[in-house]
């Protein structure tokens, strides 16, 4: 809602986070939201509340939220909240926001958060910034400063919505830091009812289907292991698949590898393939022609493995390993497996 005057502005206080609960488990992003919420609350001298909408909320769960940084936990428990229902959750939150008037409302940039938060912002006439990587309080006026990547990550934009309340933002998982859980922390738990007036306007969720391993699509993958002509054949890509699955990545390829029929076009990265934005890009025997580089060079960290250490890719890389990839990759897999075992 648009702020009418100074008193109106002051009537909004506290930082809220929407707990992300899947199958009765609190998703780790919830604690990350609590972490940043504590920083923001510290800067503006207010409290942090976690809102739990779920079919089932236990004392363990509310305790865990308090240990993770919540001063208050507002719970709404209803069978209908077992699976994510945009309309129902939006109705409940609209009511809670009206009642408690939070100044800031943070959600996770998950499938749920990215559907629910804009619906709520639309209903409330509030500002919402998606996928923030930084959040801070403007020391001059107390507004929430929200920084997010724009234009394919080439630019960082800082956004405010100071004339509207609550100030809403979503944050991607693994971006903010959670606090170290502190079991001496105390907080209050407030129970609110779902009060679903009736089922009109609420969708029906017939069933929820789990997929064993949702394969990360290349465009969204955070880690990519890519191979070129040096992979020598489809068997070479099996090796890359093994490395990728070990580190939770997807497999990419350069055009010559795809043109040779070793791997499907869906894996091709570059000018005539996909453009990717990985945090980690491991290039295996890809020389790095410009046609390939345009598709991947915005990667956070580039690791290149090649026999020839003079290629464009080896020069572009943050880490360049000179050697035979058929020797190095199996040994790397071994090393990483050992590290995993040792924790």
């Amino acid at each position: 809602m648009k702020i009418t005057d100074e008193n109106d502005r002051k009537s909004y206080k506290d930082v809220w986070i929407l707990a992300e609960i899947n199958d009765g488990e609190i998703h780790s992003v919830t604690y990350e939201l609590l972490g940043i919420a504590n920083e923001l609350a510290g800067a503006s001298g207010c409290e942090v509340a976690a809102v739990c909408l779920s079919s089932h909320v236990t004392k363990e769960m509310t305790d865990s939220l308090i240990y993770g940084g919540a001063d208050k936990v507002i719970t709404v428990t209803d069978e209908k909240l077992a699976a994510f229902n945009d309309e129902l959750e939006c109705n409940i939150l609209q009511r809670l926001v009206g009642k408690y008037k939070p100044e800031i409302l943070l959600g996770a940039a998950t499938n749920r958060g990215r559907a629910l938060m804009p619906r709520l912002a639309g209903t409330l006439h509030a500002g919402l910034t998606a996928d923030c990587t930084e959040l801070s309080i403007d020391p001059d006026n107390g507004d929430l400063l929200q920084t997010r990547p724009a234009f394919g990550g080439n630019i960082m934009a800082t956004i405010r919505s100071g004339e509207f309340r609550p100030q809403m933002a979503t944050v991607r998982p693994k971006v903010m830091r959670a606090l170290t859980p502190d079991n001496t922390r105390r907080g209050t738990v407030i129970s609110e009812s779902a009060e679903p007036s009736d089922s009109a306007g609420i969708k029906e969720i017939i069933e929820t289907v789990k997929r064993s391993e949702a394969t990360a699509s290349l465009a969204d993958a955070k880690i990519i292991v890519a191979g070129g002509r040096a992979m020598g054949g489809p068997e070479g890509f099996r090796l890359l698949e093994k490395l990728a699955s070990l580190i939770g990545g997807a497999v990419g390829a350069s055009r010559p590898a795809v043109d040779s029929g070793w791997i499907d076009y869906a894996h091709q990265i570059g000018q005539t393939g996909q453009t990717v934005q990985a945090d980690l890009y491991i290039s295996c025997g890809i020389s790095g022609q410009i046609q390939h580089l345009v598709g991947m060079q915005s990667a956070g960290t580039i690791v290149a493995i090649d026999k020839d250490d003079t290629t464009p890719m080896m020069n572009l890389a943050d880490v360049a390993v000179k050697g035979d990839l058929f020797e190095i990759i199996p040994l790397l897999i071994e090393e990483l497996e050992n590290m995993k075992k040792e924790g």
Binding site: D259, S260, G261, I263, Y265, A266, Q268, T272, Q274, Q289
Partner: protein
């Protein structure tokens, strides 16, 4: 295929999907096509070249009702189609009486669908390449003559091995990537396959750097690149080959090329 050594193959690119002056572009396409056929040359019509979405050659011909000599048309066909579209294209070509095809892997884009191995009955491959496409056309549309590409800029062992597979799949002629002078790999190709028609692509643009972008390998920069002179010298170097002209300037080069063809024919 038109194996007349004196007549050139002239590449023509159909109007782009995002053209802001489509009707004009269609008229230009029709006039180029008519002119090329009128000179006794073969019009070689591309298929979403460089992954840029364009209309298909056959639909331009059908939609505009262009009067064509089907024996003077070569249609490029790449692997970025749905099975339905692929069969649709081949059926339309049959209707038009066009029977020459250049099967290439082609350039993709996120907008273009890609043929899957199941679509073309390919086994033991993760990706459909020109090899599988060629085999599919030859098997299901035996009336088509299928040519394939040969890239002298790729590592030669790899390229020759791939050519063997293309020939085994039923390819009966070859078009090379553009060269600008005598080329050892192409010499080897001609020596190895004396009976295989090899068509050499000549780069008709003065912008040589564009060629290095197309083939993906650095080509020594030649400030004084003269396409027509280069074509002439290539013809002397490779007298047994026919020539494929890409990026031919219809206003600036066409008449000269026509005269060259006539002179060549008169000489013989």
């Amino acid at each position: 295929m038109n194996t007349n050594h004196y007549g050139y193959h002239v590449e023509i690119i159909p109007p782009k999907q995002d053209s802001q002056k489509l009707e004009e572009d269609l008229q230009l396409f029709a006039s180029k096509l008519t002119r090329v056929m009128g000179s006794g040359f073969t019009a070689s019509i591309t298929d979403n070249a460089m992954g840029l979405l364009a209309f298909q050659g056959h639909e331009c011909i059908e939609e505009l009702g262009i009067d064509v000599d089907p024996s003077k048309i070569l249609i490029h066909l790449n692997t970025f189609h749905t099975k339905k579209d692929l069969d649709g294209i081949l059926d339309s070509l049959k209707r038009l009486g066009i029977t020459s095809i250049l099967a290439i892997s082609g350039d993709g884009s996120p907008r273009l669908p890609k043929l899957q191995p199941d679509d073309v009955g390919a086994v033991g491959t993760a990706s459909v390449t020109s090899v599988e496409l060629c085999a599919y056309v030859r098997k299901n549309y035996p009336e088509f003559t299928v040519g394939v590409a040969f890239n002298p800029y790729e590592p030669p062992e790899h390229e020759f091995e791939k050519l063997e597979r293309k020939l085994a799949a039923g390819a009966s002629f070859v078009i090379t990537q553009p060269i600008i002078g005598q080329n050892d790999i192409i010499d080897r190709l001609i020596e190895k396959h004396p009976d295989l028609p090899v068509m050499i692509e000549a780069w008709m643009s003065k912008k040589l750097y564009l060629l290095s972008d197309v083939v993906g390998y650095p080509i020594p920069e030649d400030a004084e690149f003269d396409p027509l002179a280069t074509l002439e010298s290539l013809e002397n170097t490779y007298p047994g080959s026919s020539f494929y002209l890409s990026l031919l300037g219809f206003k600036t080069q066409y008449e000269t090329v026509e005269q060259m063809a006539a002179a060549k024919e008169a000489r013989s």
